[in-house]
Symmetry: C3
Subunit: 284 residues, 3 copies
């Protein structure tokens, strides 16, 4: 059976680019099973694309192939790569887009806007190649559309059984962002930040369930204090905190948008304190 090829881009859905990407795959492997993750990454937002790629790809079967293209540097000297992890093979630009799927990259501090990705050594079980074999590309290669001309064809060839090593020369490091993570806050508790806001206005933070104590907590964001964690979006009433589907702390508003109500978004600071003033909202 031919592996699944899953796609994530910032191409948008109103233009011809996503269709062309699929055509480029199907012209090499007409039997390919193509799945869209999302094509609505904000234009050029590599860091958020990296988060979405990890979130959306997590449930896929091991061995899935990914074409991920958020690539403001297309046509420059940034490297095209294919990165193999325990989960599958990721094909795209070496610009930090694979930061979250690398796993070990999760050791940074709060991100500052515009922070550049840095070279990151691969971990055990990971391999990467610098794509350098034009015979696996669509010809001629354009200056602006390497998704169609390089990344999609490479994934299609991988789906047909071409080995990773045939695609270029191995590399031990790829670029990765220093990702935001929970840190100990002055005065106790931890602090982190919002790393994504979803369609519902839920604010997803970098604080993981395992970062929290088992006892009662109090979540502080944008001048609001939320007592305890809720067991669902529909309980607790008003603003609430909950562990979301990715195991990360979320702030949500029942029947509304927390992002809008709080004027909060990516980068907003979140603090978690613990102690007697924190109660689970569900315990009221």
């Amino acid at each position: 059976m031919t592996p699944i090829i899953a796609l994530l881009t910032d191409y948008g859905l109103e233009g011809p680019y996503v269709g062309a990407l699929k055509g480029a795959i199907l012209s090499i492997n007409p039997q390919a099973t193509i799945v869209d993750l999302t094509h609505l990454v904000a234009p050029g937002d590599v860091l958020h694309g990296a988060f979405l790629l990890a979130s959306a790809s997590a449930p896929f079967p091991v061995g899935t192939l990914y074409v991920a293209v958020v690539d403001p540097g297309v046509g420059t000297s940034r490297r095209p790569i294919a990165l193999q992890t325990e989960r599958g093979i990721f094909v795209g630009p070496d610009n930090g887009l694979f930061s979250h799927v690398l796993g070990g990259a999760r050791r940074g501090r709060a991100m500052r806007k515009g922070t550049a990705p840095r070279l990151h050594p691969l971990q055990q079980g990971q391999r990467a190649v610098h794509l350098q074999e034009p015979r696996f590309w669509r010809q001629p290669v354009s200056r602006t559309f390497h998704g169609r001309d390089i990344f999609a064809p490479v994934a299609a060839h991988l789906s047909l059984g071409v080995p990773l090593d045939a695609l270029g020369s191995g590399t031990d490091e790829v670029l990765a962002f220093s990702l935001p993570r929970a840190v100990v806050a002055k005065g106790g508790g931890i602090r982190g930040e919002v790393i994504s806001a979803d369609r519902f206005g839920n604010l997803i933070t970098c604080i993981r369930e395992e970062d929290l104590p088992t006892g009662a907590v109090r979540v502080e964001i944008a001048g609001n204090s939320i007592a305890g964690l809720s067991r669902s979006y529909a309980e607790g009433g008003g603003l609430l905190a909950i562990i979301g589907g990715g195991g990360l702390l979320e702030v949500a508003l029942m029947n509304g948008s927390a992002a809008e109500a709080l004027g909060a978004g990516v980068g907003t600071e979140v603090r978690v304190a613990w102690g007697r003033r924190g109660q689970r909202a569900g315990d009221h």
Copy 2:
């Protein structure tokens, strides 16, 4: 051959949720044929989701599996169910989302905003189970993402041949909304309401073709009177009434948006009168 799995949600397309849903299916049945109906149901709008589910699913082959998730009560005690009808099996929350595909539910009066769904007995040829067998779910089950953790895995198992009865205990009733339908108007004729507005600004009403007399009619909406039914969007000029692709009366504006021009939308009242003042627009 493995059955088709069709998806309808309010997850939006900019986040990781739709991709994750597909991954959860493909990790169980990598051969599944997955089709998107829509993922742009307005957040939490169960009633409109119910209409879209029925409209989009109607042409699918008998035996299709559906995962439908508009689920503001995720994580509460609302039941996860699988509902088998003559058309296929629908998997999702028991919150009224299957009102339109139940068929017999179509016996209400005009909906009032906020009307709650009520228990509705299944009809002949319909069966439902309360999903209670965690061995067919993705583990661990999150508090917020039952689409990925319960509904998608259950549909994937169904696609592999797991029988409905293995998924939980049978139930004779599911929740359904009392759906808007045409009623006799005071002073003659009928009245109903707009139940959906599409991308073109066409206003789809709850009035069915078979509710109309065979003679000439006059359609009244938002202070406007439309004489007769048109045979196409491009004839009749200006505001027109037409029987749409779902067999429902629509109000449209040639080369424009009726919704915008009339300031009308879901819930707007529509009346149909008949008699000598009504003429088919195409007869002019």
Copy 3:
């Protein structure tokens, strides 16, 4: 193996129409491989739909089937057709939507808004039929949804091996727009116009790479002058001109939207001059 069926419409993604279209195909050929090109053509914008269809379909394998529906005249006497070219078979309304894939149609002058398509003789290797055999349609045929009722079923039957000729009577001419193309400008150089603006705000023009001289050029648009062609979106800084993925001259803004910055869009005039004042931006 069953051929790919690729879809392009102006149906939008929030309604039931795209799902229903797919259901209509799958109810005839449950094994069909369906691929979305785009469903976000602006409502009724046949000319732009024609451009997107050609751009998105170009990389697909020969023999692909296309269902293309931007059809403001649905239900009128406009003909439903199936058009075979060297690339595949295109099914949809005969209203100019196939202008770009016809190839030979590219001989017009600058388009004026509202210009109607005209009959265009087919070229060698092209065939077309006027769809007239209701036995290959979904019954009953609605007045408003020929995508679901005629075009999708016809494509599904083609995918099962029904020959083109069985679908209706042959025709030697189809409607095509006179497409914008580069022309010699008064005072030297060439002029053309913007024919599409993409999600990134890049302005794609009708000027082809082969219309340009090999030497240095200067691109003028909306009062701005751009010296030379860039080799990537990320070099040259600010406003830049580049040959895009379709071989057409584009105007882009590094890290921004050229469309917004210039107040430009479809129809904006673009001039290219050559001579000593033109330098490649990358040569600075």
